[in-house]
Assembly symmetry: C2
Homo-oligomer: 365 residues x 2
């Protein structure tokens, strides 16, 4: 191999995924001696850690050093200037779900800084932002990867890209794209037994940490709509935004504007009979109900919401909080390529980010 | 982007996969104008086509030009010398299942020629060959990818590599790795209904083109053993060879040495009662029998053969001739990462090769 290449790593975000990523990065730096990975920047929304001379920050101590830091994060343009002036190539790892940072991707990429991220916002926002991101990468040669924006570390984005880039044609994509929704419906409408009351299952899911602090942020379907937007675009559909196609919300109208998630949960039992009716209707057809997203390329339609499935269908047979994604393509015919497994969690989400980082390193170092 | 890069493509093998690959390559050359892909060599075991000045061979007409050629293929060392002297980088696409070519990979890679291939032989032969291949690539910087050596175009090798390289630990891999075996057992021992006689199912599979010309080449389990060898090595087990662990052959001892596949098929009904017994035993436990491969990292054991599965197990529920591969890892816990779909066929096998070629191009051009 050639002499040691140095690549600077900048990290924004040090929450659940960020901490797991740091752990994986520390091991990577040891295991991959052919490239010197130098952490040169790390920040949260409140604090930042960096050295003007780009001297290395210890990856192992990054979290404790960051919490000891009294430096507020510089403005995003200043961060970009700092990184663009680094004496070697830079990869920015955006471990946030910030729209502001996502909006800056075209600028960041145009300055030659590569990006790896689980942040869905950049790829599921306006179609213009999507176009700007890939145009900027194309012209500067910087790389941008976002495997964990759909299904965490599951091989979803890379598989879809491989299909499309090798000339296959996607005909349909269908699946369960939310660990929360998976858990809720696998418990509420199991293939064997009768399952619990809807409101009780939502409450349990929250207690087990499967939902956002306010469960409505899962039940509104927007998270799934964002993932579908990304997959549709990669398949060749120029979806305008995650609100430009039908998305079924599971939040009763009457509870949309209650003040808190707690109040929502308190009042949800009033609406159990509605969900019970949905379940019973499926049962009468020998089916179960699931919350799915689908893309039909022939009709150029994308939708998110409740669907009924035969008990023997792979979507019905899903367990726990697993995701499942079925790719129907011209080459694979009626028997789809299926990817299944945990689609959320710190370590598996960070794994997608780390794998993306390795992909970038193989190309730039 | 920078000025046009030229990369030379050399292809050995123009059978089913080779022809599909040429079709995909032709479209790729059009779709990827940033790299000039120049076909400089193509051969079968009988004929070769190349120009001493490396002038380009038309990809569209390669098959017809090759059949019109009266040039016998040069010796492998001569081909390597020709390719190593090309005026730009070279990727060799080995679309054969030749052991001789596989044995030359260390030489080819050491001369700076990258390799993409569905050929299992190189990666499932002796452990020394495996070591030599990756040592040669490491020292010359040439790349070697073999996605289609397991599960055709399904994302199996790349997923396993991502898991391992990002620091996850494989605990177990289990699956159905042969389209032929999948088809046979899904028909012989379906989860609903009683299925056909074993010998009749083998005959039907042959007629439908699901088996090798001599079905014993599928039934001996060696093809599955080769795939397991590859996955075990990538997981960190230094398996010595595909015959160094238990592999159950489904060829009755008495029929091992009959002269032809036809004679084998003619006499196979004599042994139906044996397979019927296996099926009945599983049924008594409420299970079905499947031909699977598994790797247990804790006990460092690899095995291939018949196993019984509950009807609700994903391996039992498989359809048609699909493959299924379950990765159990430390990060994914008890809920494995599962990849499922067609694991054989010209287009999907070629797709894995083309995707590998794209991976190499992103790194060398």
């Amino acid at each position: 191999m050639a002499a040691k290449n140095q690549v600077f790593i900048a990290i924004i975000g040090a929450g659940g995924v960020g901490k797991c990523f740091l752990g994986q990065l520390a091991k990577l730096a040891v295991r991959r001696p052919s490239t010197k990975l130098s952490l040169c920047y790390i920040s949260t929304s409140k604090k930042a850690l960096f050295n003007n001379d780009y001297s290395e920050i210890s990856i192992d101590n990054a979290i404790s050093s960051l919490s000891a830091s009294s430096t507020a994060p510089p403005s995003l343009p200043d961060v970009v200037n700092y990184l663009a002036a680094a004496p070697s190539k830079v990869v920015l790892v955006d471990n946030t779900s910030s729209q502001d940072i996502a909006d800056a991707y075209p600028l960041i990429l145009s300055r030659g800084i590569s990006i790896v991220t689980p942040n869905k916002k950049a790829f599921s926002g306006s179609n213009k932002l999507w176009q700007d991101i890939f145009a900027a990468a194309q012209s500067s040669g910087a790389k941008v990867y976002h495997e964990s924006s759909v299904g965490a570390g599951l091989p979803v984005i890379c598989t879809l890209k491989d299909l499309v880039e090798t000339g296959d044609e996607v005909t349909k994509i269908e699946g369960v794209f939310s660990g929360t929704m998976s858990f809720l419906f696998n418990s509420f409408a199991p293939t064997t037994g009768s399952g619990g009351q809807w409101s009780a299952e939502v409450k349990k899911a929250k207690e087990l940490g499967y939902t956002e602090p306010d469960p409505r942020d899962d039940l509104n379907g927007l998270d799934v709509a964002r993932k579908l937007t990304i997959l549709a675009r990669l398949s060749g559909l120029a979806v305008e935004s995650p609100t430009s196609f039908p998305v079924q919300s599971l939040i009763p109208k009457e509870l949309e504007s209650v003040a808190s998630g707690d109040e929502f949960l308190e009042r949800l039992p009033e609406f159990d009979s509605q969900m019970e009716q949905v379940k019973a209707e499926a049962q009468r057809e020998g089916k179960v109900v699931r919350f799915v997203g689908s893309i039909d390329m022939a009709t150029k339609s994308v939708k998110v919401g409740l669907e009924k499935f035969d008990l023997s269908h792979p979507i019905a047979a899903l367990k726990g909080s697993d995701n499942i994604i079925s790719f129907y393509t011209k080459r694979y015919g009626n028997s789809p390529l299926i990817v299944q497994g945990a689609g959320a969690g710190g370590e598996v989400t960070a794994m997608g980010v780390t794998a993306d980082l390795l992909r970038v390193l193989s190309q730039i170092s």
